[in-house]
């Protein structure tokens, strides 16, 4: 879907209509169970937009989603389905916190660089395992990345309880490893928004540059479009599988570092895989693989995620509703054949009318 050629108009219309249909589906479901959908959506949107603090929080959430979304998108462009984003984010988080706790007294710029660098490497290695197995043994990257997700989850909890500390939460990292930016925090009345936002914007630009302006990016796209033709043209499918998975995991790991150092400043045991990983998949699909599209999709999902917290108290609706809406949106993006069919029909009707004049 990300690889088919589309006219610019329907490339914008499909995500917008999918979002609308997703919200409508959620509203119908709420009506069915006797909830008031207008109250629920109002609680969600007003909750976020009426307060600088929660706008900051939504953007912070969107920042991490941008990294996981870009990570998923690059593997998808190359023709691979990296469901392991959540696990790669988690190992990135562990690596960043581990390094930051180990060298608390290094100067800020150096400590941040090596912490984030370690997270990128950890995420890349975790995804690289799946890429290498796919390239050399043809092993399904879907199953391998899922298995590595659960492996990452159990190992993370083990590392927290047995290596980093004896409890369920590590110490906070030092000031030198903090990503917070004074004026942003003040502007948003103390939200956890951080310099990850600027890193995300830079990465969005670099991603665009890599995919459209470099030979390596061209090869990744070509292999995704037609592996046989690319191999015939002298590109190495194996090399591109591994490369795209390394970048994919590296981006997820970077997201983990931003989440760990920026949002929490520590690491704690997890009962399940971070939903930021799976929502990253949703963000990438909604953004149709376009980096700018992914950025804006992230903001939408950031608002949904943070706004969902207002629904139980203000409208009595369980906050899982937001996840249902997200799933419905992706359903319509995935089944965009129907949307396109309707759009095409409308278009051909219009031209037919014009022809009759």
């Amino acid at each position: 879907m990300l690889t088919t050629k589309q006219s610019r108009l329907s490339a914008l219309l499909i995500p917008i209509l999918s979002v609308l249909l997703g919200f409508i589906f959620g509203a119908l479901l709420m009506l069915l169970f006797g909830y008031n959908p207008i109250d629920a959506y109002q609680a969600m949107l007003m909750g976020v937009f009426n307060s600088p603090y929660f706008i900051g929080e939504a953007i912070r959430q969107a920042t991490v989603l941008t990294f996981t979304g870009l990570g998923f998108a690059i593997a998808f462009k190359a023709g691979f389905f990296n469901i392991g984003i959540a696990g790669q984010l988690l190992v990135g988080w562990v690596a960043a916190i581990w390094v930051a706790l180990s060298f608390p007294d290094l100067p800020r710029i150096i400590l941040l660089t090596i912490s984030i660098g370690a997270a990128i490497v950890a995420g890349a290695v975790w995804a690289g395992i799946a890429g290498t197995l796919r390239a050399y043994f043809g092993t399904s990257e879907v199953i391998v990345t899922i298995m590595l997700n659960y492996t990452a989850l159990h190992l993370t909890n083990y590392i927290i309880r047995s290596v980093l500390t004896t409890g369920n939460t590590t110490d906070m990292v030092s000031e030198n490893a903090s990503l917070s930016v004074g004026w942003l925090t003040t502007l948003t009345q103390g939200s956890r928004i951080n310099m990850g936002l600027f890193i995300a914007i830079i990465v969005v630009f670099l991603y665009w540059l890599f995919m459209t302006q470099t030979t390596a990016g061209f090869e990744v796209r070509a292999v995704g479009l037609n592996p046989d033709a690319s191999t015939y043209a002298g590109m190495s499918a194996k090399r591109n599988i591994i490369l795209s998975m390394l970048i994919s995991g590296g981006l997820a790991g970077l997201g983990g570092a931003i989440h760990g150092l920026g949002t929490f400043g520590n690491l704690f045991t997890q009962s399940g895989l971070p939903s930021l990983g799976f929502n990253g998949i949703a963000v990438a699909l909604l953004g149709l693989g376009n980096p700018v599209g992914i950025f804006f999709s992230s903001i939408l999902f950031g608002v949904l995620d943070v706004g969902a917290g207002f629904m139980p108290n203000r409208a009595g609706v369980p906050d899982e509703m937001a996840d249902i809406v997200i799933a419905a949106i992706i359903f319509f993006v995935g089944a965009n054949y129907v949307i396109r069919l309707v759009l095409d029909k409308m278009k051909s009707n219009k031209t037919a009318e014009k022809g009759g004049e």
Binding site: T139, M147, H154, F278, A335
Partner: protein, 318 residues
């Protein structure tokens, strides 16, 4: 602990953990044999687990000891309904199979917990009214030595699963329906030329997978966790898919692989009683099933071939 009771413990707990995997792996086999990848099985298991928990709590007073078994049907039915979403999306709406499966995996836990909150006011149902517990297999339990090890105090659903695996094998390889289903997964256009209704076959494959996956989830809730919550299924659907691949898309192979994975998972629970294994740190036993899955997939690929047309959208000839 003497050797017979140790073996009894290993066999019965392996089967307890294998039972949901057997059913779900068989479900995956039917779907993929018809050419539709169904990674949504994880989500379908979640819905099956949810539905059976509701059924179990609501109807225990009516059905008594039969409740968990009927709960399997409840799980299977909701599994069919949920698999229809996947069928419509992939077969009619030409959605990417993995995207559609991912949607199901995103939607199912959210929807199930949403409904649990709507009904029980909490994210978990709380303990079920009656779980499967352990049963003796009629007559077979009386065989000396083998009886106590394999057939006493063991998992009833697992033996049902073994029976269903045999039936599934007969259906897939010895009936006209099975031949048609497989032909659609290998070469749908050729099948269409011969007058086979490709869409109908694909729908059957996906709906059977929904039924069996829902049952798998129902067993997970009623035999292992004894409640429904967000962590009830946690990856079992994916492990079942790995079992299907390990079993070379053959029902009997999938069943065998599922029992093996059941054994691997049970080690984290019973490892303390088994010599040698009790010295391995717990974290390795926890990640063992997942790492083993990867190692096995690497090992069997090449000797295991998927249906030829798996994952492609079939567009009817005009």
């Amino acid at each position: 602990m003497d050797i017979v009771s140790l073996l009894q413990l290993i066999v019965s707990s392996s089967l307890v953990y294998a039972a949901p995997l057997i059913f779900t792996a068989l479900g995956g086999t039917f779907s993929e044999r018809s050419g539709v990848v169904n990674i949504g099985l994880e989500g379908i298991m979640v819905m099956g687990a949810f539905m059976s928990a509701i059924f179990n709590l609501s109807f225990y007073s009516t059905f008594g000891a039969m409740t968990p078994w009927l709960g399997l049907l409840a799980g299977g039915v909701i599994g069919i309904l949920f698999s229809l979403i996947h069928a419509v999306a992939t077969i009619n709406l030409r959605a990417d199979h993995i995207v559609s499966g991912t949607v199901i995996n995103l939607a199912a836990p959210a929807l199930a917990v949403f409904l649990t909150r709507a009904i029980y006011g909490a994210a978990q149902t709380g303990p079920l009214a009656r779980s499967f517990g352990f049963s003796d297999i009629f007559l077979l339990e009386k065989i000396p030595v083998i009886g106590p090890i394999f057939f006493q105090n063991t998992s009833g659903p697992a033996y049902l699963g073994i029976l269903v695996a045999i039936i599934a094998w007969v259906v897939l390889f010895k009936t006209r329906f099975g031949l048609r289903l497989r032909s659609v997964g290998e070469h749908p256009h050729a099948a269409e030329t011969l007058g086979i209704n490709v869409y109908l076959m694909k729908y059957s494959g996906v709906m059977i997978s929904g039924f069996l996956g829902g049952i798998g989830g129902a067993i997970q809730a009623q035999a292992i966790h004894n409640e429904f919550g967000i962590l009830t299924v946690a990856g079992q659907g994916f492990i079942a898919m790995a079992a299907m691949i390990f079993g070379k898309w053959n029902p009997l192979g999938a069943m065998g692989a599922a029992i093996f994975f059941g054994f691997a998972q049970s080690l984290a629970r019973i490892g303390n009683y088994i010599p040698i294994i009790q010295d391995i740190p717990g974290v390795w036993l926890q990640v063992l099933p997942y790492l083993l899955t990867i190692i096995i997939l690497v090992g069997v690929v090449g000797r295991s071939t998927a249906p030829k047309d798996l994952g492609n959208t079939f567009i009817r000839s005009k």
